[in-house]
Assembly symmetry: C2
Homo-oligomer: 274 residues x 2
């Protein structure tokens, strides 16, 4: 059963004055919990701290978050953890309170051991991402663009949808980052205007460089996607997710994807086992 | 003391699984409550219904919202009411539940009788608005751009900040819409990409047309603002708020502003009494 902790206490509710609820004034992390441990926790905490700094929310003590994560996970071996930090409660109005008390929410959703995600059929979404350099890269609590994009289809055979910015550039999936191989090089969308800087995206860029691959962050058009030699998605809970087809156009499982999946298995991303 | 109702029950918390909290998956209205009545309630309900339709959230029965508003306001004569509608609770993941049960939150914040807001000193904010045609015009729960803009200053002599879109066009205030008089005509930013379509903005456009003024919704540059003959803000709780200065540049209280304020007083916006 799912477990939620609010400021260290088991809870099923949060105060209605929480600015995370009334204004989306907070950020979160989604973390794979495998064999009794939160995977890439250091990277998640680093991104959370960076987000808090950019939003001028006081970052909770890491030791507290670690302890509460253990408490929420209890004796489960596998699951998904969520860390939410909000600016806390305050009076009505956008202005942050003068002495806000940030609120910590730690959730744990138990699951079975990780299984490999098969190649995904994906689609192109009509709903575009919100552009805002001040929020770009962050996983803020305001995710309505992702919600509307994900609501575009119910067909269970479609695993994910790719989202574009208002100018038509492909930026990410509704719950994933995207990588393509073009002209023999690995590319992924740059995220200066929108999109979320995923932890698995960062891990994959690092692994690619260790394997001697050239990786660049750049703007990707729909045509770049259509003409890609390989296409895959990344996500903290899945690792690398090969794209089998996009709006019906097939993609082959190529050497970059295979080599990177092997590299991820070697650092504990079991979902990438073939 | 502030009163909150969740699905018709007095409450101080909401379920932590509410998608309004975890994803900003909902919208709200802020309503002036004057002399025992919610002002322009029909217009607020109309905008709420339009927002629900655009987000594919089932609009709660209006009779329920009206009854809960009366219940929350109790015997108060004046205050601010807030109506929030979220997609309700659901399991983890952006995909809306197949049979969501929307949640209603009605809040009431008592206040003294409305007093006239004096001419405002305003500033230009650095934080820009998020662009997304799918969300433009709506008052969604994801308001972090407004929060960051409002957090840019603490000087109590600055009453409001003007926000631009990423292309530099002036769109609105952090909690208001903006109107300017340019070359003898009334103009207000068009809101196809971002910004909130305020109820008072709509009322003012209607009143201006009744007074025989030409009003156009258009793109406004910072230069248009600097060269405006008159500049004012609109907000449901304030009516028309003349701008006395913007980043130090003074504006005179001109004939358009004065005539529109008189017209608003005549339809019950007491805050516009001179």
């Amino acid at each position: 059963v799912d477990t939620w902790l609010v400021d260290g206490q088991f809870a099923e509710t949060i105060p209605i004055t929480d600015r995370g609820f009334v204004y989306g004034d907070g950020i979160f992390e989604t973390i794979a919990f495998r064999r009794g441990k939160p995977r890439f926790l250091e990277l998640h905490l680093e991104r959370l701290a960076e987000g808090c700094a950019r939003l001028a929310i006081r970052m909770p003590a890491e030791q507290r978050l670690r302890a509460e994560l253990r408490m929420a996970a209890a004796d489960h071996a596998h699951g998904t953890a969520k860390l939410i930090v909000t600016r806390g409660s305050g009076p009505r109005g956008y202005a942050p309170p003068t002495a806000p008390e940030p609120r910590r929410v730690v959730a744990f959703f138990p699951s079975d051991a990780a299984t490999s995600a098969g190649p995904a059929a994906v689609r192109i979404c009509r709903t575009v991402l919100s552009i805002n350099p001040a929020l770009a890269g962050l996983k803020t609590l305001g995710r309505l663009d992702h919600v509307l994009a994900r609501a575009e289809w119910r067909d269970p055979d479609i695993a994910e949808g790719l989202m574009r910015d208002p100018a038509g550039r492909v930026v990410c999936g509704t719950m994933s980052n995207v990588f393509a191989v073009r002209h023999g090089r690995l590319v992924t969308p740059e995220l200066s205007g929108c999109g979320i800087r995923g932890v698995m995206r960062r891990v994959v860029i690092g692994q690619a460089r260790q394997l001697g691959m050239e990786v660049s962050e750049t703007q990707l058009s729909l045509q770049d996607i259509r003409q890609a030699e390989e296409l895959f998605l990344t996500n903290a809970l899945i690792g690398i997710w090969p794209v089998a087809s996009c709006d019906g156009q097939p993609y082959a499982l190529g050497p970059f994807t295979t080599a990177l999946r092997e590299a991820l298995v070697a650092i504990g991303v079991d979902e990438c086992r073939p």
